[in-house]
Subunit: 351 residues, 2 copies
DNA sequence: TTGAAAGCGCTAACAC
DNA sequence: GTGTTAGCGCTTTCAA
C-alpha cells in the first residue's frame, strides 16, 4: 500500500504539504508547481487515500446510511435508492445500505452498525408510503424519513403528494370529457388510499361534478381486486375508471376484456404508480400517475446533508446551548410533499 | 462521543484490557468478572465502537463493495442485493452500494471510491446475465462477478444455470403430456437465449422428441414480442408454449385470449423469471422458472469472503512468493452455476 | 493477567 | 509557504 508518506518522500516535500497539495485545501496556498509535482508522484505511485484514516482524523466518514424495508421486494424502492445514491455522490458521499426486510430487530441492529461506522446521517426509507416507528437509535443521528413518516414526527419526512396525484389522475379522465368517473380504491386505509380519494374528490369539486359515493369501489390493491371490481364498475354506470394502482388496472383490463368491453372505447382507464412492467405494456398502454421515487431519494439525501450543515453551523454558533440542537430537530419537523408526475398513454379516450 | 478510554477509566482498567474485554479476544484470557464489569460500564456509558479507528488499527474495514449496473432499473436486482447483504451481515460486514446505471465511467469511479474506503472485496453485479468488461481497478482487489462474466475470465463468476432452467421449463410441459412445445425465444443472442434453447433441446432429446426448428419462434423478449408471436404459435401447430420470459408470456396471453383461445385448455404456457408482478397475477397464474437472484447474491458474497480468507492464508504460507497469489487468482477462475427453481402454477394442463 | 506504548494513515494546528 | 507534531480511537506487541 502506498501511503501519503511515500508520496511526500518521493516528491521531496513534507507529509503535510503533500496532503495539502492533494486535497486542494483552501486554508493554505501551495505553489502550482509543487502541487503539480506532488500529484504527478501520487499518480505514478498509484497513491490512493485511505478513507478510514482520513475519516478518523477529520471526524467525518463521508458515509451515509440508507435503511430500507424492502429494496428487494419492491420494484419501486430501487429508484429511491438510485436517487439517494446519485445525490450522495454529488457531495462525495457513499451509501451504506441495509435492507431490513421489514424486521424491526434488523433495523435496530442496522442502525447500531451504521453508527459504529460513523455515518453522517441515516435515510430511513420504506417501499410503501406509510407510518413507521423507526428504531430509537435513529434519534442519535441526523435522520430523514423517505416515503414514510413517524407518528411523533420527530424526523423530517419526504413523501409523495398523494392528494395531488389522485387529483391529477382524476383530471386525466375529466379533461377527456368523462363525467362519471369510478374510483377503485384500496379498501385498506393507507396514506395512499386516503390521499388519492381526497384528490379524487377535489378534482370532481373543481370540475363542478357532485361526488357520488356509489362510484367509489373498495377492493384489495392488486390484480385480483381490479378483476373482481369489474361487475361493480359495470353496474355503477361509470364511463371511466381511476384505479388505485396499475396492478388494479391490470386486473380490471382482464375482466373487462373477457366481458367483451374495449379499452378505451368503452371505458377510459387510468392507473397509479407507473409500474413500468405493467403500465407500459398493457393493451392499450395505460395512462397513469407515477410515484416520484427518484426525486424522493434525491430530496431525502439533500435534506439530510442540508441538516448536517445546519447542525454543524448551529453547534458552532451556540455550542454551549446543547438544547438548541435538540429543539431544532423537533421544531424543524416538516413533511416535504413531492408531486406525482402524470404519464399519458393510450387508455383514455376523449369523448 | 464515548471512547474506549472513557470506558476504561470508569471501569478502572487499562484501555487495552477494556478493548479485550469487549472484543472477546482469544489470545488473552480475561477474568469473567472484569469482562463483565467492563461491559456493564460500556453499556451504561452508551459506548459504541468507532469502526473507522478500529478498521485503521486492524487494517480491515468490514466493508464490502457492491457495484450494480441497475438495482434501480430492474425488479430482479433487488433480490441479489438482498442476498448479498444477508450473507455479508452474517460475517459482520456491511455493503457499500453503488449503482452505475450502466455507465462505465461511474463504475470506474465507484471502484476507486470503494478502494479508498478499504473495502475487503467487490461484488460486481449485473441486472441481466451477460458479458461485462469491469473496470481495471477491480483487478486490485478481491472480486467476484454476479449474474455476469468477463471475457478474460479473470474473476470468478456466479451465474444462473440457463441450460438447466430451459430444460426445467420445457419439462414442465413435457411432463404434462405435451409433445409439440413451441419456444418463443429472445431473438437477441444472449446467455439466456442460448442457454435456454440448449436446455429446451436437451429436454426434448431426453424425452425422445425430435427437435423441430419450426417450433422456435424468435421475438423481442417483452410483452410485444409475445403478443406478436401468437400467429406463429397458432400456425406452428404447437400444443404448448415455453416463453423466453414472463413478459413474453404476458403478451402471448393477451394475444391468445383476444383470439378466443383459452389457457391452459387450448395452450399450456410456461414462462421464465418468475417475475412476481406478472407471473403470479396473470389469469391463469403462470407456471414459470425463477431466476435464483437471492442465491446469486448469497453465493457471490460467500465466494468473495472465502477468497479473502484464502488469500490471507496463502500470503502467510508463502509470503515470499508473491506470484503465487497472482497465479492463484487466474487459475482459480471458475463459473458457478446456480440452478433455477421451478414454480408451478395454473397455466399448464395435463393431457 | 494486565498495562504501557507503538503505531494504523491522515489532518490540522502551530511554529518557522 | 512549508515543515513539525499532536492527535483521531483503537488494536496489539511487548514487558511487567
Amino acid at each position: 500500500m502506498v501511503t501519503l508518506q511515500d508520496v511526500a518522500r518521493e516528491a521531496g516535500v513534507s507529509i503535510a504539504t503533500a496532503s495539502w497539495a492533494i486535497n486542494d485545501n483552501r486554508h493554505v496556498r501551495i505553489p502550482e508547481a509543487t502541487q503539480e509535482r506532488v500529484r504527478k508522484v501520487a499518480q505514478k505511485l498509484g497513491y490512493r487515500q485511505n478513507a478510514l484514516a482520513r475519516g478518523l482524523a477529520r471526524g467525518q466518514s463521508d458515509l451515509i446510511g440508507f435503511i430500507s424495508d424492502g429494496v428487494a421486494t419492491s420494484p419501486f424502492a430501487g429508484q429511491v435508492l438510485q436517487g439517494a445514491q446519485d445525490e450522495a455522490w454529488r457531495s462525495n458521499k457513499l451509501l451504506l445500505v441495509i435492507d431490513t426486510n421489514g424486521d424491526d430487530e434488523i433495523a435496530s441492529k442496522a442502525c447500531a452498525f451504521m453508527l459504529e461506522h460513523q455515518v453522517e446521517g441515516i435515510a430511513y426509507s420504506s417501499w410503501v408510503h406509510h407510518l413507521v416507528t423507526p428504531p430509537n437509535e435513529l434519534s442519535k443521528v441526523n435522520t430523514v424519513l423517505i416515503n414514510c413518516f413517524d407518528s411523533a414526527m420527530r424526523y423530517p419526512a419526504v413523501v409523495p403528494d398523494e392528494v395531488q396525484g389522485g387529483e391529477a389522475a382524476t383530471n386525466l379522465l375529466l379533461a377527456a370529457g368523462h363525467t362519471r368517473v369510478a374510483f377503485i380504491n384500496d379498501k385498506v386505509r393507507t396514506p395512499a388510499s386516503v390521499g388519492r380519494l381526497r384528490g379524487y374528490k377535489q378534482a370532481l369539486a373543481k370540475a363542478g361534478i357532485p361526488y357520488d359515493p356509489s362510484l367509489v369501489i373498495l377492493r384489495t390493491a392488486d390484480q385480483e381486486g381490479g378483476y373482481s371490481a369489474a361487475e361493480a364498475v359495470l353496474a355503477s354506470g361509470a364511463d371511466s375508471v381511476f384505479c388505485h394502482n396499475d396492478r388494479t388496472a391490470m386486473g380490471l383490463y382482464d375482466a373487462l376484456k373477457s366481458r367483451g368491453k374495449r379499452i378505451p372505447e368503452d371505458f377510459s382507464i387510468v392507473g397509479f404508480d407507473n409500474q413500468e412492467v405493467i403500465a407500459n405494456h398493457l393493451h392499450p398502454a395505460l395512462s397513469t400517475v407515477g410515484l416520484p421515487q427518484y426525486a424522493l431519494g434525491v430530496l431525502g439525501i439533500r435534506l439530510l446533508l442540508a441538516n448536517n450543515r445546519q447542525t454543524k453551523q448551529s453547534s458552532v454558533a451556540n455550542d454551549n446551548k446543547e438544547s438548541a440542537k435538540t429543539n431544532m430537530r423537533i421544531v424543524s419537523r416538516q413533511e416535504t410533499l413531492v408531486p406525482c408526475p402524470v404519464v399519458k398513454r393510450r387508455s383514455v379516450k376523449h369523448v
